[in-house]
Symmetry: C2
Subunit: 202 residues, 2 copies
Amino acid sequence: MTARLQFWFEFASPYSYLSAMRIEETANRSGVELDWRPFLLGAIFKKDLGSIDSPMTKNPKKADYMWMDVARQSHRYRLSPFKVPDPFPQNGLLPTRIACHLMGDSRLPEFARTVYSAHFQKGAGLTDATALTNILEQLGFDAKSVLEKAGSLTVKQKLRNLTDEADSLGVFGAPFFVTQNGEMFWGDDRLEQAVESALAKS
Amino acid sequence: MTARLQFWFEFASPYSYLSAMRIEETANRSGVELDWRPFLLGAIFKKDLGSIDSPMTKNPKKADYMWMDVARQSHRYRLSPFKVPDPFPQNGLLPTRIACHLMGDSRLPEFARTVYSAHFQKGAGLTDATALTNILEQLGFDAKSVLEKAGSLTVKQKLRNLTDEADSLGVFGAPFFVTQNGEMFWGDDRLEQAVESALAKS
């Protein structure tokens, strides 16, 4: 049986960015198939903590460390220099709906990586429909049609269901990795272990 | 010049436990000298967040994950099976003062590991003076004299200074690793990188 791993990601999350940029290479090397699962972490923060903001940003010492650490890990992974989004965090609803619509399309990972690198390397806004249109066109999509479908009731409901599923699984942050037998791994630092575990139990 | 690395640890912290049990082997392999730095994380939580409790335990989903993850990492590091302390967290003031008194004594790491394994593997309480007396005797100390000195004004002030120093460095959790040129690494997952970095910059 092919080993599979769910990759739960949130566009506004810096550590989801780090994982999104490198997960395919790591998984491919091990022959693990990925299921890219977009969701809205803010909705889960709101339910769990009463506020949509990341707990990371509430303590200035922790926030300073996080930005330094994400920049350091970016460098370690040989990604382009990291840029702190301004403002942070931004509402990733629009790209998340698009990602939701693209589930099952083999171009979803590339779409996600392009949005992530625009946001965390070039300072593009997550709510910027023009920037997203350009990304879609650049990847060969009919941008108008994709954006229309991303705004449909079907996709809205699908995204709500995905976020509820994440919540039921016990997801409280991002990225999260879930193996076929339900083993959970939180954070970019657990990516390798998650892939290993997906493989060992398949 | 010998590469040095500061290892800031808190006795009640599960991830400090994981690092304490394995840091000497990792550092020795690389020829990095360790400075074991006890401090009181609760005092920093109180100052930063208004409560001495770990932010980890405030969200039940996060707490559940943490216990599962610490047990999983223990197993991965081939430590004896992990036991969740009851209650958690406990006040580590007494062993921390002892550790503070033992700074500069080559037996500090062994004392720390013995306290950690009693607490996180055997369910011993951190506030239990009898258990700590037994540990000191087992390690060949004059327990009565050590406990007396650990309760002196000098040691109390030294611990306050250490905790203030951690706070000034930007420490907001544990374990924390600080290299000679001030590079900071938070969490057991950064232990290897911290040792690497201590070495590269020495």
